[in-house]
């Protein structure tokens, strides 16, 4: 079956512009996660969705970052007024859940964001 897909694979944007990153999880996976990987910070958790709700947004670095998930499937991560420090690879992952337990996460290939 298809894995987690993300688009675009690369995005170059000017400082101050808004960007939208998309994640299409594995069909049937109710849990969806966004992470960010940058040279200085390693891999950081951003936000978690269970179905369409986001019980944990604690990793979002500022109010310029927001995310939504519709239909329990596709998710978009939006960064408003991008800054150079937002440059990173944004990774999406999904996992199966059962009775509140979570299992291994399957990652997409990531979106490399460069803010100039």
């Amino acid at each position: 079956g298809a894995g987690v897909s993300q688009s675009p694979s690369n995005k170059v944007t000017e400082k101050g512009k808004d960007v939208e990153l998309r994640c299409d999880p594995i069909s049937g996976h109710t849990a969806l996660y966004w992470y960010r990987q940058s040279l200085g910070q390693g891999l950081e958790f951003l936000i978690y969705f269970q179905g369409n709700s986001a019980p944990d947004k604690s990793g979002l670095p500022s109010d310029r970052f927001s995310a939504e998930r519709t239909g329990g499937s596709v998710s978009t991560l939006t960064i408003q007024r991008t800054q150079q420090e937002d440059s990173a690879v944004y990774l999406c992952a999904s996992s199966f859940t059962s009775r509140g337990s979570h299992y291994e996460q399957y990652f997409g290939p990531g979106t490399r964001l460069t803010v100039t």
Binding site: G42, E44, Y48, D56, V89, S95, H102, Q105, G110
Partner: protein, 117 residues
Amino acid sequence: SQQGEEDPQALSIQEGENATMNCSYKTSINNLQWYRQNSGRGLVHLILIRSNEREKHSGRLRVTLDTSKKSSSLLITASRAADTASYFCATDPTPNAGGTSYGKLTFGQGTILTVHP
């Protein structure tokens, strides 16, 4: 913040040798997972070990977990050039007071493994 600390940061070996990577963490966990990453892009899940397990095998991979020492190790036996990658441990914290673990992973900084043909 990074909970896991991995060592070594970089490991260079010859094909056929074994590679051992270690991970230490700070808080109670529900499970610990190892991932592999090539060329700084998507991570590939290798193995998950639960807090009540001490050792797990998958092909040439062997993972151990010592919850008393809050540490784990990943052993790759008979390494191949294709094993060259970055390897990360990630911890899934103990369920919250409501009894639910939601898989918020905290990653270590990773070990860069280079296997020379």
